[in-house]
Subunit: 410 residues, 2 copies
């Protein structure tokens, strides 16, 4: 953990989360609760655990994918096929504030841990479920992954080159994007529970969650009566040049700078010209109004490219960004290696038992100026005995017997 900045104490201290999530849509949700101080007990099977641990074909250790979505949690392995194992999870449910799962449709109910069962054991439990498609959808029994949700939820249709096929947005919005909406609902339910004492059954579908992130495009459709188009690097709203990326030296795949002049800010255009060293064009009627700039977009692109193509993207961002909104296109390696993120605690380094030193993006919101502290993801079953003791008061002797009986493993 970086010690450059003091860390924020967790807001969710004292909240117990019974975490039966796997892969990303569910784990991203409980990950944030753990970052914010909740006690997240991740229940995994005794053999391989969360399949997200072993993503690559040759992985012998927990994949970075797993580390990124399971830090600050504790892992307890439980054989849910054994009656005693199932009983342990039900005992934990009695003590839990939150239950969270994202198995395939019907799986948690077949295990005997559906909302009807757990809400009888603990009427105050906030019970969250992420599925691919919503109850009542013709596809409610279908499996989904991030890309399926992004295909069916509209995000792909508005992403990519205008003359090419749909592209998948790189961010895993189907997974983490859905997990965040579930988390907002969980926290709201906890706030309500403080008044009523009653839990809530929360359900979200990954397809449905995608609609929340493309409401600008629905606005376009509301006005045009047509499907919102793909617009490459431009804004989906369109019609306001310059609003695009421009190539920079030395011409690598991500050597571009974004340049934008706001509709609401008529001074942006002359300010941009000044930054580009083209004061001679200020007042030129070919470019003076937004309508004129739409007409002369190709010339505008040439004027800007003339400047940007001779400079690297950071110099372009520095010069142009001081005048109008502008930003260098940054890739994941540049971001990960930028010391400013580590100084500010937005990226933190952890020491993982098998992966060694590992840098990871953390919760980006600062609390009273401080980032939240990040701890490594647990190895499979690393905290079984500890969680049994903390949650259920089970002592060392009984814990050893549970291990011997293969109810837990560590």
């Amino acid at each position: 953990m970086t010690n450059i900045t003091p860390m924020a104490p967790g807001c969710l201290k004292g909240i117990r989360v019974l975490d039966l999530t796997q892969f990303e849509a569910g784990t991203s949700c409980t990950q944030v609760m753990a970052w914010l101080g909740a006690d997240v007990a991740k229940v995994e099977n005794t053999t391989v655990g969360d399949p997200g641990r072993r993503l690559g074909p040759n992985n012998k250790v927990d994949d970075p994918y797993f580390l990124n979505y399971n830090s600050n949690k504790r892992s307890i392995t439980v054989n849910l096929k054994s009656p005693r194992g199932l009983e342990i999870v039900k005992e934990m449910a009695k003590k839990a504030d939150v239950f969270m799962e994202n198995f395939a449709p019907g799986a948690i109910e077949r295990l005997g841990l559906g909302y009807d069962v757990l809400s009888k054991i603990n009427p105050g439990i906030v019970y969250g479920q992420v599925k691919g498609f919503g109850e009542g959808s013709p596809y409610e029994k279908n499996l989904a992954f991030d890309m399926i949700a992004q295909a069916c939820g509209g995000t792909m249709s508005i992403t990519g080159d205008p003359n090419g096929p749909p592209a998948k947005p790189g961010p895993t919005l189907g997974d983490t994007g859905t997990g965040m909406l579930m988390l907002i609902s969980i926290l709201s339910a906890l706030i309500q529970r403080a008044q009523t004492g009653k839990g809530v059954h929360l359900q979200v579908a990954m397809q449905d969650a995608m609609l929340h992130y493309i409401r600008n495009s629905f606005g376009i459709t509301a006005k045009s009566g047509k499907a919102a188009p793909r617009t490459g690097a431009a804004s989906n709203s369109g019609g306001n040049p310059p609003c695009n990326i421009y190539p920079c030296a030395p011409g690598g795949p991500n050597d571009f700078v974004y340049v934008y002049t706001s509709r609401g800010n008529p001074e942006h255009w002359p300010r941009l010209l000044e930054a580009l060293g083209r004061k001679d064009l200020i007042g030129d009627p070919r470019y003076s109004t937004q309508a004129a700039r739409v007409e002369h977009e190709a010339e505008i692109d040439a004027i800007i490219t003339e400047f940007t193509s001779k400079r690297d993207k950071y110099e372009c961002m520095r010069i142009i960004g001081a005048a109008v909104p502008a930003g260098a296109v940054r890739d994941t390696l540049e971001l990960m290696n930028d010391p400013n993120f580590e100084e500010r605690g937005i990226i933190q380094s952890i020491d993982h038992p098998t992966n060694g030193k590992f840098r990871m993006a953390t919760w980006p919101v600062r609390f009273n100026g401080k980032p939240v502290p990040v701890k490594p993801a647990p190895l499979l079953g690393a905290n079984s005995d500890e969680v049994l003791k903390d949650w259920l008061g089970i002592g060392a002797e009984e814990a050893a017997k549970l291990r011997a009986d293969k109810i837990t493993a560590s």
Copy 2:
């Protein structure tokens, strides 16, 4: 409002939000609080209000953009340049649980409504700020919009055709994606405040927030030591065909179906072959293992396209999706007109005073099986008197005087 499904009562009933947000990053955050039952008083200037109301050049009425991010709120206009106007907002801050703003860097402090001021008036206030770049970043004074955040935050670098330039993900992740992370922090701070009585100063940068949504790609970089690449419609993790879109009849810009076979599920491939009517290929060593399928990806694409190109995307989804993860690429018009979303309350219709009947995507999470109810966005200043009365006990006479003095307007 649709009455097909009963609506969930709001979890955040009784929470008062003093909302000085505009455009999207801030409004999306307070929008969800309003959907979930909070009393959101949107404070706007007396002349044009939130600039998001008038986005298009020819708009005489509130743009669909505004409607999408401001439903269920109440609008109060206040002239913040007048001492009495400023005093009113400070009086409201005394009564507020949450304050939220996303003006340009330094603007709210120049108005005299910075955290240092409001936390003295109300030590329990949860005070949220969204900016483009973080405090301590070299760009902390720069303006940002969604596309600038997506350029600088890495999401563009991993989106688009592998042989083309970066593309902007269509979803407005820089705005709504940031707003959701702020909201999670606000709700967590409210949970903590119930114990401590103390408020919190929350700050998030749109650039930093982008990192949260591309952690898979950081995992790729951790393993490869290289920037994560663009992969078109494929998953950024790569190397697991089929994992792509396939063209369907009749060949329109969004007539594609996504087909995926999971690494973790070796039965997916023979099941897919059966669905495609190609049982003859089950067991063929050219395709039997993941490694073999990587080698013969072009042939696999041809086998699937042979099937999909003769059928429409919904038929493809029905047949293939019954066997393996698969999903039709849907555009915003298809989604908006799909009655299933309205039946389930995921899209709801409102009657807006100037826009008429308007369908909008709503909060996708269901509470005890019910969606949240959506009400129209307020006209500028529509609720000034009502809010003055509810929050500050200001009666009709004083409210009329405030209007006459141009402190408020309606």
